[in-house]
């Protein structure tokens, strides 16, 4: 069974004075169990609309979406999901610990299990010391970490994370990547949106690019990487010089250039493939529009 399946999903927002804005157009997507899926797109492309539809926050104009085989119009679909909204906000008059208790009770967790898991996720996200303080005193990064904590709390099979890295410092971003990799190892499915390609590159199995409400392509991340070596950068120290210099060569020229440099007595430091990286891949797709 797919973790998430979306069929022909469209969403048209009715604006003021009868104008219509097509936010999503005929979207299809399957995310398998144990898969990490990165949802990439520029701002306003429809990432959040897709996620809000999955979470039942907005109703699709047509098409349907299922989570773990359950239609998203039912709250039951959200029972197996850990959801992190974009720039989340939580009842700021509660402490992190109280909020987790609230969330755990709604997921019908047993009290001892709730207490154990609550402690675990608070420690994991470095919120243990701040757990009794009211969230209105938290920094943006701390609130983001509370968001991750409440998504992880009930150990669901599916995670839907809207911009999980935003608002975090480099240490926090690394922590989130580690958490996602750990989830993958435990066979969980993760669907996360971002507009930062490096986030996707390091953790995702597959990536989908959405532009102006349409899914432009869905690819395996390693395919993009393998298929995209456009040349090599060769760094060497020429004879009679003390500083290294770099030259860029095409794939076909590489063997000839290398032997040339060797025969000239240059000291070759490093040969690096230049990949058409995800960023360029992404920019290319967006520019085609």
């Amino acid at each position: 069974m797919s973790a998430v399946s979306i069929h022909g999903l469209s969403k048209i927002f009715k604006g003021k004075r009868g104008t219509k804005v097509v936010a999503l157009r005929n979207l299809d997507l399957e995310i398998g169990a144990g898969e990490i899926f990165g949802f990439l797109g520029p701002n306003g492309a429809g990432k959040s609309t897709t996620i809000k539809t999955l979470m039942g926050l907005i109703t699709p104009t047509s098409g349907r979406a299922l989570i773990m085989g359950k239609d998203v119009s039912s709250p039951e679909a959200r029972r197996h999901v850990g959801f992190l909204p974009e720039n989340p906000a939580f009842y700021d008059y509660l402490s992190a610990a109280e909020y987790l208790t609230f969330v755990g009770r709604i997921f019908k967790m047993e009290a001892p299990q709730l207490e154990r898991k609550s402690e675990e996720v608070l420690k994991l996200l470095d919120l243990w010391d701040a757990r009794k303080r009211l969230m209105r005193g938290y920094s943006k990064g701390m609130v983001q970490r509370v968001g991750l904590a409440q998504a992880l709390l009930h150990d669901p099979d599916v995670y839907i994370l809207d911009e999980p890295m935003s608002g975090l410092d480099p240490i926090g971003r690394t922590l989130v990547k580690e958490i996602i990799q750990d989830l993958k190892q435990r066979g969980k499915s993760v669907f996360f949106s971002t507009h930062i390609t490096s986030d996707v590159e390091s953790v995702c199995d597959r990536v989908g690019v959405i532009v102006k409400g349409e899914m432009k392509c869905v690819r395996r991340v390693d395919e993009i990487a393998d298929g995209g070596i456009t040349g090599y950068e060769v760094r060497h120290i020429a004879t009679g010089s003390d500083s290294p210099e770099s030259i860029t060569v095409s794939t076909s020229d590489l063997p000839a250039i290398l032997s040339e440099l060797q025969s000239a007595g240059s000291h070759i430091l490093v040969v690096e493939p230049i990949r058409k990286n995800l960023e360029e891949f992404f920019v290319d797709i967006v520019r085609q529009e």
Binding site: F13, K52, M55, G56, L57, I58, T59, P75, E76, A77, R78, R79, V81, F83, P85, E86, N87, P88, A89, F90, Y91, D92, Y93, L94, E98, F102, V103, R105, I106, F107, L134, G147, Q150
Partner: protein, 263 residues
């Protein structure tokens, strides 16, 4: 629903709304001295003033809590995190309503105790001609609480439609004022002087009479102040009216909120 109610209550207390009410309770201290302005009914005036203060505080509470609680959740984007949980919109709304209603009842009890203290003190100094019927006073304050809980339900209905707090707050105030005069208007158009009105006006007025909440039914102040007997069947009927009207208003609110897009 229970969990949402608990969290709502916590929020109300942590936002220091109860502290604000306690400040208003300080006005009770002034009532005995103001009541002596009366020539012939010091105790009655102290009851009038106490009950007015009670309903005024409850009115402010119901309009501002009822009008802003849902709006604040949406405005501050709490709804994304809460409605992303396996919780129906209905349970969410009813939970919020239950929390607010429980708080209103709690405040009514506190204000009721203050009224008891003030009035019994005044009645010791200026013994009233007619004995105070404490039972009437209790029933009166209970129905005040019910009335304002109904006001909160109306405010929730407006909140479920609106994206700002203007409609909930001002809409609720209008409904509150209108709901207090419908009975008067209804009696007027059925009186001799009302027959001069055009039939259309009468029909509209009668229609509004049945649609708008009839808040005058909950007003038992006169019975509490002047010790006039309260009709048991009348209060029971009013209570049933409260339950049904609140159910209808909340049902509509749930319906509207469930269809609402949380963009």
């Amino acid at each position: 629903m229970k969990n949402v109610a608990i969290v709502t209550l916590k929020g109300i207390f942590r936002d220091r709304i109860f502290h604000g009410i306690l400040v208003n309770v300080a006005f009770f201290v002034l009532i005995p001295s103001i009541a002596t302005l009366s020539m012939r009914q010091v105790t009655e005036l102290s009851l009038t003033l106490s009950l007015s203060l009670v309903s005024f505080i409850l009115l402010l509470l119901s309009i501002f809590l009822g009008g802003t609680l849902l709006w604040k959740d949406i405005e501050r984007r709490y709804t994304y995190s809460v409605l992303g949980l396996p919780l129906t919109r209905g349970r969410y709304l009813l939970g919020k309503f239950a929390g607010t209603a429980i708080f209103t009842l709690f405040v009514s009890i506190v204000l009721g105790v203050a009224t008891y203290l003030v009035v019994s003190w005044v009645s010791i100094i200026y013994p009233p001609e007619r004995a105070i019927l404490w039972g009437n006073l209790t029933v009166c304050i209970l129905f005040e609480a019910l009335k304002y809980i109904l006001v909160i339900a109306v405010a929730f209905l407006f909140s479920s439609v609106s994206t700002s707090f203007f409609l909930p707050v001002f809409g609720t105030i209008s409904i509150f004022l209108a709901g207090n005069v419908t009975q008067q208007v209804y009696e007027y158009i059925h009186s001799a002087s009302g027959s001069a009105l055009s039939p259309l006006v009468c029909q509209v007025a009668v229609g509004l009479y049945y649609i708008l909440p009839n808040f005058s039914a909950f007003d038992l102040k006169v019975n509490a102040i002047y010790g006039i007997p309260i009709s048991l069947s009348g209060t029971l009927l009013t209570f049933v009216y409260f339950v049904l009207y609140a159910a209808i208003v909340l049902g509509l609110a749930v319906l509207v909120l469930s269809r609402r897009e949380m963009r």
